[in-house]
Symmetry: C2
Subunit: 131 residues, 2 copies
DNA sequence: CAGCATCCATGTAGATACTG
DNA sequence: CAGTATCTACATGGATGCTG
């Protein structure tokens, strides 16, 4: 009977804490995505990374290649991406000076995520233009 | 000889337009991601979607489950997600009224993208806490 | 070429209070 | 419970012009 009672108590405790567990589980699933979003925030970080995934680029190449971006935003976002070590900036000591941007290996590690996002975006565009 | 000349011309033309093609290719890869980002913009849309991927929720459940979100932001973002048909809002005519939010199938279709983002986020957190 | 400075508009967020 | 209203503050983004 003590066994019986104990069993029930465990079940009860589990039941009592079910919501809390789900809660924690859910938060645990959200947190890493928030972490990613924190680094990739804003409209331009992913476009910049995609642009560089096609090869090293110079500032003005990127400015031409990324639709609608301004110099100001490109400059600002490149700096943040560099600080987070997703992008590398190399200055060649020529006249005039040449600056080349490239993806680090770490930056390239975003490829699978970007690829999935792109797949979804393609479906999404199809869906909204269909309507 | 005419054949030879033609071949060279084609090659030359292709070479001439190589940069333009790369440019268009790159923009074509960026656009769908921008489309996705447009719907998912802001800090809270993905966390909300993740929260609902664990089951239907009521407003205050979500407010408790998503770290740091305010009622105001939750309300605002839910409305936008509903407009984009990623989230469904069901009102039960009880007293007091019960409102249940759920993911649409379309909302669920973001799962693979979110999953990849989460993987990256986990690696990222490990990386930055290691340093 | 590779940006930076400036000004301005909009967006995002928090605090607090309030409603049906 | 499920939000809305208001106010405040800072962040983000855009336009334009300018520099070494």
């Amino acid at each position: 009977m003590s066994t019986q009672t104990e069993s029930m108590n465990v079940a009860e405790v589990k039941e009592e804490h079910k919501e809390l567990r789900d809660h924690s589980t859910c938060m645990g699933m959200i947190q890493p995505v928030q972490d990613a979003l924190y680094v990739l925030n804003g409209k331009w970080k992913l476009p910049i990374i995609i642009s560089l995934s096609f090869g090293n680029k110079r500032f003005s190449e990127m400015a031409r290649e990324i639709p609608k971006i301004t110099d100001r935003m490109l400059s600002k976002e490149l700096r943040e991406l560099e600080m987070n070590q997703l992008v590398k900036r190399t200055v060649y000591d020529t006249v005039p000076v040449v600056v080349e941007y490239s993806l680090t290996d770490y930056g390239s590690s975003l490829d699978p995520a970007i690829s999935e996002l792109r797949k979804w975006g393609i479906q999404h565009r199809e869906r909204i233009t269909r309507k």
